[in-house]
Amino acid sequence: MKPGVLLSARQAGKAFMQNGKPRWACRDVNFDLYPGEVLAVVGESGSGKTSLLRLLAARLACDEGSVHYEVRSEQANETDGLTDLAQMSEAQLRRLARTDWGFVEQHARDGLRMNVSGGANVGERLMALGARNYGHLRQEALSWMQRVELDTARIDDLPGTYSGGMQQRLQIARNLVTQPRLVFMDEPTTGLDVSVQARLLDMLRELVDELQLAAVVVTHDLAVARLLAQRMLVMKDGCVVEQGLTDRVLDDPQHAYTQLLVSSVLTP
């Protein structure tokens, strides 16, 4: 086992039953992710990107292989080493999911609670960890709203009154407030206007840098991968066809499918 690995996928695979036969959504996925590294997963719709992300985040269980995570131990600055997610209890996984991990959904509505205010959305994870001091929670919410460039005057408004770009930024603040070490992102900029997208990407890039976050970002946009990720993984029909350094994969793609993907965009 290599020292320092945060997340490790080993021959990980997920199958769905179709007409009594297994259909592999993704299969034989292998990689090690280190603290502070950003890995982009690219491929067209139906290639298994999102299934893989859900597998990594323990929202789905592996049917083959395994996913391991370096769990932070109760003592500060210590870890218990890599733990197979399949060996962890529901309670342990829940705790991981709301402290050490973040999950940014493609549709902000799926990741937000639409019936409570923006500020309450940011404070929720802290409250789940036992924070009760109202003044402190509000202060944290204000400071995170500023960091993701949200107008703090909107703190008491419901997320439904926010624009799409603002909702996405609120979702990011809500995830980062517990200082996770690993964030999963599913098409974080898809569906936003180009200018909103650029601003969000730039913000993500800075936060990842500043907080030394590790991230797995699913995207079909190669420019997003180039901007955010040091490494990338190209998926087709549930298989990883190519992986490596982002600029190497994009500038000198080896696999037929990656070449097609790169040559199909106007400016990768």
Binding site: Y34, E37, A198, R199, L201, D202, R205, L227, Q230, R231, Q243, G244, L245, D247, R248, D251, D252, Q254, H255, A256, Q259, L260, S263
Partner: protein, 232 residues
């Protein structure tokens, strides 16, 4: 003296799967080795594979066969066998690359772009910005541009941002792809002086210089990529 960068029987062929697996051979069997303080100029007509060779040295292109080895913190790293993480580390600490075109990040100021490589090796923000300012000053980039993202800059201005970005950490291995192509005579002289200073400090430089005068001023040897051109 040990070399800082070398290639062993390095070959590059592009395979175009979209064209029925068409093979585009670029070069083959390249052996080169660059010592500290040397500057190797790659020569050959356009299309002879100079830039491709430089990109292979940086790990931006994968070698088809053979290897690129870089002396990184006292050890040889094989770029063909290194993990992405190792290549990233070699680039962060050891290799500077000045490409022909600047890849701009939306909204990030020129000063921060130039300071970024220093930040990545742990230099504090204020100090990194101060040193970035010195480099931009030295390269005669007008001060009112420093706080703007370089997207709207002229070719020559962008090139100088690129040079500052690639050289600011005084990397042991410096790869330069036509660093003076869009510069006027004054700025060309500044860049020549910077390359000479890098050599004096013991960097190994590999570059493509179209301007004969620049090449004669900075290069200690030439390497004709044309000689290694693969038969098409």
């Amino acid at each position: 003296m040990t070399a800082l960068i070398e290639t062993l029987a390095l070959s590059k062929t592009f395979t175009l799967h979209g064209r029925g697996g068409l093979q585009l051979p670029v070069f083959s069997g390249i052996n080169l080795s660059v010592l500290p303080g040397e500057c190797l100029a790659l020569t050959g007509h356009s299309g002879s594979g100079k830039s491709s060779l430089l990109r292979c040295l940086y790990g931006n292109y994968a070698a088809s066969s053979g290897d690129v080895r870089i002396r990184h913190q006292g050890d040889w790293v094989s770029m063909s066998n290194a993990t992405p993480r190792e290549v990233f580390e070699v680039r962060r600490r050891t290799v500077g690359y000045v490409s022909q075109f600047l890849r701009v990040i939306p909204r990030v100021s020129t000063l921060d772009i130039v300071a970024d490589p220093l930040r990545r090796i742990g230099v504090a923000a204020d100090e990194a910005r101060a040193r970035a300012a010195q480099w931009l000053q030295r390269l005669n980039l007008q001060e009112h541009l420093w706080h703007l993202p370089p997207a709207t800059f002229s070719g020559g201005e962008q090139q100088r941002v690129n040079i500052a970005h690639g050289m600011i950490t005084n990397p042991a291995v410096l790869l330069l792809d036509e660093p003076t192509a869009s510069l006027d005579a004054d700025n060309r002289r500044v860049v020549v002086a910077l390359i000479q200073a890098a050599r004096d400090q013991g960097s190994a430089v590999v570059g493509i210089f179209h301007d004969d005068e620049v090449r004669e001023a900075v290069a200690s040897r030439c390497f004709d990529v044309e000689q290694h051109r693969s038969p098409a």
